[in-house]
């Protein structure tokens, strides 16, 4: 309801404007101080959790690689290192997974676009040599519970993304011709399912040339 409290005209209690400014400044400083303390105390845990979630997601869609690293898109090329004094979050990135012999097993890409309700954010892993998908996970979606959220919960649908080959084509469930590019849609959640397929195709088209151009040689010395 109306959140306007009953504001009475403030009585003039003789406070000078210097006094007012001083009070506000002190209040602001105290508030700032408290916030900095809490921020410093909570930030490590928050970041650790975010990193853990990202690691889990990358691990899942690349079928548990022995290790993985992050590649950044700098000047139209994927590189391991950021330019000097660059801010990490200003750059788009993909992840590359390696097996125990340090040979690359696949790339993981995050991409989003409009779904049924709002943006859908997906991470998927694939092998650039064959285009074969290795796994898919929906990171964020507000799709209708019980219908559109099947793109996260319907394991028949999610499981297909370990078999099919990009670029993908959505087909009605059970009407496929056995083509490796075909993905069975979900009955009752066609738009959400199609959104996932589009996301992957869009990302594939954009990143595949960049990923193919990336040279693993010498970049993995650890």
């Amino acid at each position: 309801m109306s959140d306007e409290p009953q504001v009475q005209e403030p009585e003039d209690n003789g406070a000078s404007s210097a006094g007012i400014i001083a009070t506000l400044a002190v209040a602001g400083m105290l508030a700032g101080l408290l916030l900095v303390v809490v921020y410093e105390a909570t930030q490590p845990r928050i970041l650790a959790y975010k990193e853990k979630m990202m690691k889990e997601a990358v691990g899942l869609v690349l079928q548990e690689p022995a290790s993985f690293t992050t590649l950044y898109l700098v000047d139209g090329k994927l590189t391991l290192d950021l330019p000097e004094d660059a801010v990490e979050k200003d750059f788009e990135k993909v992840f590359v997974g390696y097996d125990e012999h340090n040979s690359p097993v696949g790339f993981a890409v995050v991409h989003n676009r409009a779904g049924f309700q709002d943006q859908v954010k997906v991470i998927f892993g694939y092998d650039p040599e064959t285009g074969g998908m290795m796994g898919m996970k929906v990171l964020e979606s507000k799709e209708t519970p019980g219908l559109g959220d099947a793109i996260e919960k319907d394991m028949d649908f999610v499981g297909q993304f370990e078999r099919v080959v990009a670029p993908l084509v959505g087909v009605k469930k059970g009407s496929g011709s056995g083509d490796p590019h075909e993905v069975d849609m979900i009955t009752g959640a066609t738009i959400s399912a199609r959104a996932v397929i589009r996301i992957i195709n869009e990302a594939f088209e954009r990143w595949d040339p960049l990923i193919k151009a990336y040279d693993h040689g010498g970049s993995k010395d650890a």
Binding site: M1, S2, D3, E4, L35, V38, I191, A195
Partner: protein, 192 residues
């Protein structure tokens, strides 16, 4: 460009601020008894939302990158002062417009839609133009919801409503039905 249009359509219809996010409920319940007032309130909202979006973008880009923990405080302080400045400017420049919007402007300060817009825009990491379209969409959406609600309530006045349903209960149930109707718009953004 298609991206911007999608943001606009989705915020007006699919993710309507009032009917899907419950933002700006206060004017929605409070000043939706007459279509005329609802329309003016909506206009005032579009105006303030647009300016807020620009300010939030400026704050995010130039100040808050280094101190994210000051986000909520600085948003609310800036919004409150902003509305007051806008009020003064309108009063000076166009007394006619002030007469139309005047009383609604202070009411808007504490309206959650304004802070909500600033925060959603930040969370969605919109750039300047995306934010602008988001704000206009949000404002149009609020106006649409307000006007629809007001026209239904004007008609409902002539109906015989049982005593226990009069007032807020009826308004909420109407809002629920409107919200359900708007669910039909879902999926617009991913058509074709």
């Amino acid at each position: 460009m298609g991206d911007l249009i999608w943001i606009l359509i989705s915020t007006v219809l699919v993710n309507n601020f009032t009917l899907a996010y419950f933002l700006g409920l206060c004017p929605f319940m409070g000043v939706s008894a007459r279509v005329e007032t609802a329309l003016r309130m909506g206009m005032a909202n579009i105006f303030v939302l647009t300016i807020t979006s620009i300010c939030a973008w400026l704050l995010n880009t130039f100040l808050l990158d280094h101190a994210p923990y000051l986000r909520v405080i600085s948003f609310i302080v800036v919004i409150a002062s902003l509305v007051q400045i806008v009020e003064m400017v309108i009063k000076k420049v166009s007394p006619a417009l002030f007469k139309q919007l005047g009383i609604y402007l202070p009411l808007i300060t504490t309206n959650c839609a304004i802070l909500g817009l600033a925060i959603f825009q930040t969370n969605k990491e919109y750039d300047f133009f995306q934010g602008l379209f988001f704000a206009i969409g949000a404002g149009l959406g609020l106006t649409l919801a307000l006007v629809l609600m007001a026209s239904i309530r004007e008609d409902a006045e002539r109906a015989q409503v049982p005593k226990i349903a009069q007032g807020m209960a009826l308004v909420l149930i109407i809002a629920g039905s409107l919200s359900m109707a708007f669910m039909g718009f879902a999926g617009l953004g991913s058509a074709s």
